[in-house]
Amino acid sequence: MIRVENISKSHLGRPVLRDISFVVEDGSNLGLIGPGGSGKTVLLKIICGLIRPDSGKIFINDVDVMSLKETELAELRKGLGMLFQNYALFDDMTVSENIAFPLRQAGTASEEEIQGLVKGLLQEIGLPTAAEKYPNELSGGMKKRVSFARAVIHQPPILFYDDPTAGLDPVTSSKIFRLLTQMKAEHGTTSITVSHDIDGIKEICENFVMLERGELIFYGSREEIEATDIKFVRQFWDASSDDELG
């Protein structure tokens, strides 16, 4: 379970997040939505300990993330996976080296097992022939899928997806969402997904948090968000363009 308690963060004197609190239950997928610049990526990075908040606490499986030293945090991160918004693939490694990297570093699997897992994942993400390519030879959609494979190869119980379908065509987006659903069904992962693709995220998340200018303006289930009368949330959810957002 992930518990976010009263998180606030400022950058250069400007508040980025204000008093954010919510809970993600074990085995569920929370959708983190909101307009660009509302603080979603910063919040995601705070939750996995990549950025320190100014105040507030994060509990992952009842462990207070803020109280951990860097070495303890590293230990905790072994159980997390993250798909970054702009892929964050290592430029000097091939696709297969990128995907295998978490397992090779952990040293918990034999080279034979790693090769088998990489091959299987490349099949699953639809890139069986890209193993020896470098990231700069791939399209945005391919990079996203490789980044997904790297995030999940060590089968972490908790996953964070930062805009997994940004800039992708509808077919690739649907493939990515299918992989996310598959991951949850097969391994029961707990996850937080940041996305602007409302149609896609609707299908894979049970609960939603919506941020606007660093403030939490909605937190609830799919049924609740569909029934909400908060105008801004409704507009965003229905992708209505009657009024300007934000």
């Binding site: 990075k45 996995c48 990549l50 860097e70 590293a74 230990e75 905790l76 991160r77 072994k78 997390l80 996976g81 993250m82 970054f84 918004q85 702009n86 892929y87 964050a88 693939l89 290592f90 430029d91 000097d92 990297f101 978490p102 570093q105 952990a106």
Partner: protein, 256 residues
């Protein structure tokens, strides 16, 4: 209007932040430099990229430097007929000063700038955060192999460069001044002491370490997109050059 005191204060805080950051980086590199903590493939990759790729440029620069020094000294050598001192004169200045400092500056411009740009790009494209998210310490994985490789490779390159510069000097002395290369070599063997050679090697070690720490530090604290990478590279090259001259002064003073 900008308050001058405010500007000076901000500049001082920025300077203190950089010095503090460099000291912390040195401490973290030291703490992670134990052989069992090193990532073998990363170290080998860094050694290859830093050393092998720098070899041609260092040899060419050193050959020409040796030749230029002999040309400069040639006028006086001919005037006083001190042909037997040509090897000593060129060797003394090359081994103690010109070799390490020129190769150090060349190394900082090529390898240091490249390292800052590479780490800076990794930083702004979230590759450094990706390492942390995978429970890997970026200092241990990215910085330590590079610093170790720079220290070791600058030492090796200075040794190679010293010999290349002496070779260039001997050839130029033979061709332009008519000083027999055997006399040139005899002059080196006769007058140059081992400590003249090791003096330059101490400098190479310190310069390599400074360039490594400075270039990695500025790379790892890059922010602000492509312009930020440019600023980081600039700061790294300027910082390394200053460090080379400051340490050169202190080492020369201490070893005299």
């Amino acid at each position: 209007m900008i308050n001058p005191l405010k500007k000076i204060g901000a500049q001082f805080l920025d300077w203190a932040d950089t010095v503090g950051g460099l000291v912390v980086m040195m401490g973290r590199v030291f703490a992670n430099a134990a052989p069992w903590k090193l990532d073998g493939p990363q170290v080998w990759r860094s050694l290859y990229r830093i050393g092998v790729n720098s070899f041609p440029i260092v040899v060419v620069t050193a050959l020409l430097t040796g030749a230029i020094m002999v040309i400069q000294a040639g006028m006086f050598i001919q005037k006083y007929g001190a042909y037997g001192l040509l090897g000593w004169g060129a060797g003394y200045s090359i081994l103690r000063e010109v070799g390490p400092i020129l190769i150090g500056l060349m190394f900082s411009g090529r390898v240091g700038a490249n390292t800052t740009a590479e780490l800076g790009t990794m930083k702004i494209t979230d590759q450094v955060d990706a390492l942390r998210a995978l429970a890997i310490d970026p200092v241990r994985y990215l910085v330590v192999p590079r610093v170790i490789s720079m220290v070791f490779m600058l030492l090796v390159l200075v040794i190679i460069g010293d010999f290349a510069a002496l070779f260039g000097g001997a050839i130029t002395g033979q061709l332009l001044l008519g000083v027999d290369w055997k006399l040139f070599v005899w002059s080196i063997i006769e007058y140059i002491k081992l400590e003249d050679f090791t003096h330059g090697l101490w400098k190479a070690l310190v310069f390599g370490y400074s360039i490594g720490i400075i270039s990695c530090y500025f790379g790892m604290r890059t922010s602000g997109g492509a312009m930020g990478v440019g600023r980081a590279v600039n700061a790294s090259v300027v910082g390394s050059a200053i460090a080379i001259f400051v340490f050169d002064y202190f080492i020369t003073y201490a070893m005299h």
